[in-house]
């Protein structure tokens, strides 16, 4: 038995619950033969992937659902072997560049060339071109993006590219100039409740509005999270009526605790304690940006209005350094110390300008 998120995932553009205008638009694009390259972007959990899958189905019909996973070996210029898993159907192929790290350019170059030089074997296929779906396109290296550019023009008769990204900011202008941009906004609370109600009715589950509203609010636009929480709650309780008291995930509680610790005491020994907690979080694979943002959110709840902007300012600064730099922990810790100093400064009104 599959999870609700998967089981109730819409299969066609008509099944999609929200953004009907967008669905209609994609549908009309898919009908014409001159389908463009596309770039789907929007926050995570907004349903980009689902929408892409539906688009593929609209393009090719049921055949795209027959997926197989291929083990492929690529050779880097320095003769290292790369093993990559590739998901594909007869009509499309999917790649996630982060799986191949810094060598994404090699994989992209080879795969695209191969596809570009081949043709649809299935003569009944509705379109002559194949589609290459590139997930997490914002993590493509610059080199890989550059490798896409002319390929996207040159082989347009055999291939279309669909990029999926959280934001367009990290994509170079020449790529954006070659795609049709499609923004997928997160669903509103009402839209999420509608989806939850639909699932509840299919599951013959009794719920009330209070419970559903609570789940929708908690998910904050992330439909996947809402459905996961919904199913988990049903497992625990059976009947869902509000208030449901959604438990926060462990790491979130943990981050909040770190926030509290920063505000309770500002001392070298406290910095050490915080550090070990940060290590703990990192070792559980919580992304450092998420750690920083969650702690910051907690800290600004606790401090005076006049300090909040400064704390977020330094959060932004150190988050950027974390991306550019190498050791995440340095920058997380630097931010913690900065916040402690700001707080102490504010509280005792000591002049700490010498420490800047």
């Amino acid at each position: 038995m599959s999870l609700w998120v998967d089981h109730y995932r819409p299969k066609t553009l008509d099944d999609l619950h929200y953004h009907p205008a967008l669905s209609a638009r994609i549908k009309s694009l898919a009908k014409a033969g001159d389908f463009p390259h596309m770039l789907f972007y929007g926050p995570s959990g907004a349903g980009k992937k689902t929408r892409i899958a539906c688009t593929l189905k609209e393009l090719y019909g049921k055949g795209v659902e027959k997926l197989k996973i291929d083990q492929r070996v690529f050779m880097t210029p320095s003769r290292r072997k790369l093993d990559v898993n590739i998901v594909q159907s007869n009509f499309h192929i999917e790649i996630t560049p982060s799986e191949v790290g810094n060598y994404d350019r090699v994989v992209i170059q080879e795969l695209l060339k191969e596809i570009a030089q081949t043709q649809q074997v299935d003569i009944t296929a509705r379109h002559k071109f194949k589609v290459v779906v590139i997930n997490e396109a914002d993590s493509l290296t610059r080199d890989a993006q550059a490798a896409l550019r002319r390929t996207m023009e040159k082989y347009m008769s055999n291939m279309r590219i669909i990029l999926c990204a959280n934001s367009t900011s990290k994509l170079i202008a020449p790529i954006k100039s070659r795609c049709l941009l499609v923004r997928v906004a997160a669903p509103t609370e009402d839209e999420m409740i509608k989806v939850l109600k639909y699932v509840a009715s299919r599951e013959r589950l009794q719920t009330d509005d209070a419970a559903l509203t609570e789940i929708a609010q908690d998910a904050n636009g992330n439909m996947r999270k809402a459905l996961l929480v919904f199913e988990a709650l049903k497992m625990q309780k059976g009947i869902l009526s509000g208030p449901v008291a959604i438990a926060k995930p462990d790491w979130e509680t943990y981050c909040c605790k770190v926030g509290d610790m920063i505000i309770q005491d500002q001392s070298p020994s406290r910095v050490l304690e915080v550090r070990s907690k940060l290590y703990e979080l990192l070792s559980h694979c919580i992304p450092p940006t998420v750690i920083l943002k969650t702690i910051a959110d907690r800290v600004v709840e606790l401090v005076d209005e006049s300090l909040k902007a400064d704390i977020m300012h330094w959060a932004a600064i150190y988050e950027t350094r974390m991306r550019v730099g190498n050791k995440k922990i340095f920058h997380l810790e630097a931010w913690v110390v900065k916040v402690m100093s700001l707080y102490k400064h504010f509280f005792y009104d000591i002049d700490m300008s010498g420490f800047d």
């Binding site: 549908k27 009309s28 694009l29 009908k31 014409a32 033969g33 001159d34 463009p36 972007y41 929007g42 926050p43 210029p77 007869n90 992209i108 170059q109 191969e114 596809i115 030089q117 081949t118 074997v121 610059r142 080199d143 490798a147 550019r149 002319r150 390929t151 040159k154 347009m156 008769s157 055999n158 934001s167 367009t168 900011s169 990290k170 202008a173 020449p174 954006k176 100039s177 070659r178 795609c179 049709l180 941009l181 923004r183 997928v184 906004a185 997160a186 904050n220 940006t289 943002k293 600004v300 909040k308 902007a309 977020m312 300012h313 959060a315 932004a316 988050e319 950027t320 991306r323 550019v324």
Partner: protein
């Protein structure tokens, strides 16, 4: 991959011809001769002369995306050599080809040192082509070549200059090492001016038989900022959408903005108002709290608007604001500049939209 059948390239070429009606307009209306290239008068004037003389310098084309660089060099090569000799005389390599130092040493060098065979001028399509006694190597998207590979090119360029000309094409001229750049005649491709863009778009609209309102052309010009490829892509998508309803509707400027990912004015204005910028709305703006600003930011992030797009629109709003004091504008611009850099470094969008919001909020209150 058993179900992929590698087809001989010749057949693929034939396919493309059949496809013509379904071709994307950017390809369909790619300039076929250098005379078709709009807006780059200087470049075209110089290149026109090379068609009659038999001389051609090494060249470096640079400029923003979608301004006709690739089209120009392809058109020029085609006009010089004609369809028959194109393959033997022109080598096109772009960033999707492996162009490490070893390829430069082998493939490029091999091609560069072949002596071109003399050709009679008349080609199979009945036309005469100048077919000058050299070959052209096009290195498209040369800014993504490594420094080493570029350095290796230096010698090749010099040694075989008699029989081979290079054309480097790039967006960022500073990424080309100086010794290479100094061996080339440089041609800057400007972002297309409004009149050329509008002429080209009208031409396409005529050929495709769609009606185009001047306001739509304006919307295309402002959203694509001199990138003709982008405006053509937008136009095609918009026309497809307009035709898909029954009865077909006409294209509106709003359609274009939606397709182009422009943040709607209402959203930008509301954001600005939250930051304490007077946008001439109903209630005089009053001081907003941290929480209110943050809520607004979270809402925008949820809508999925791109941070860079939002900030650039916010920037325009602030800079052109009629009553905001210069100092406030300057401080806001600083904050936006910082954020732009951070976003280029891959920083978190939500944190930086919030940062800009808070800085501007502080500056204007």
């Amino acid at each position: 991959m058993s179900f992929f059948q590698i087809q001989p390239p010749r057949q693929a070429a034939k396919e493309q011809v059949v496809d013509h009606a379904l071709q994307p307009w950017v390809e369909k209306y790619r300039p076929q001769t250098i005379e078709d290239v709009s807006s780059q008068e200087h470049t075209v004037a110089v290149l026109r002369r090379t068609l009659t003389s038999t001389n051609l310098p090494h060249m470096l084309f640079y400029g923003p995306p979608g301004t006709g660089k690739t089209s120009t060099i392809l058109a020029l090569s085609r006009q010089l050599f004609g369809p028959d000799n194109f393959r033997s005389r022109v080598l096109e390599l772009n960033a999707s080809d492996e162009r490490g130092i070893s390829i430069v040493r082998e493939k490029i060098k091999d091609f560069a040192r072949q002596t071109p065979r003399a050709q009679s001028g008349v080609s199979s399509d009945g036309k005469t082509y100048p077919c000058p006694p050299y070959k052209i190597i096009i290195l498209d998207e040369a800014d993504s070549m490594t420094q080493d590979a570029q350095a290796a090119l230096r010698r090749i360029m010099e040694n075989y200059a008699r029989i081979t000309r290079f054309c480097l094409v790039c967006n960022y001229v500073t990424r080309i090492i100086e010794p290479l750049a100094s061996r080339c005649s440089k041609f800057r491709f400007k972002p297309l001016d409004n009149i050329s863009t509008s002429q080209r778009l009208t031409h396409i609209a005529c050929a495709e038989n769609i009606s185009l309102d001047p306001s739509v052309v304006n919307a295309l010009i402002t959203t694509s900022q001199g990138d003709l490829r982008r405006s053509i892509t937008y136009l095609q998508s918009a026309s497809r959408l307009a035709n898909s309803t029954s009865p077909p509707t006409v294209i509106t400027p709003e359609d274009i903005q939606e397709i182009a990912g422009v943040v709607p004015d209402t959203v930008v204005n509301e954001f600005a108002a939250t930051l304490g910028i007077d946008i001439g709305g109903k209630d005089k703006t009053k001081a907003k709290s941290f929480d209110e600003v943050r809520r607004e930011v979270k809402q925008i992030v949820r809508e999925g608007y791109s941070a860079s797009q939002l900030l650039s629109q916010l920037h325009d709003l602030i800079v052109e604001h009629p009553t905001l004091p210069a100092l406030h504008k300057a401080k806001s611009a600083l904050a936006i500049a910082e954020a732009d850099k951070a976003l280029c470094d891959g920083a978190d969008e939500e944190l930086w939209i919030l940062e800009v919001a808070l800085q501007i909020h502080k500056a204007v209150s």
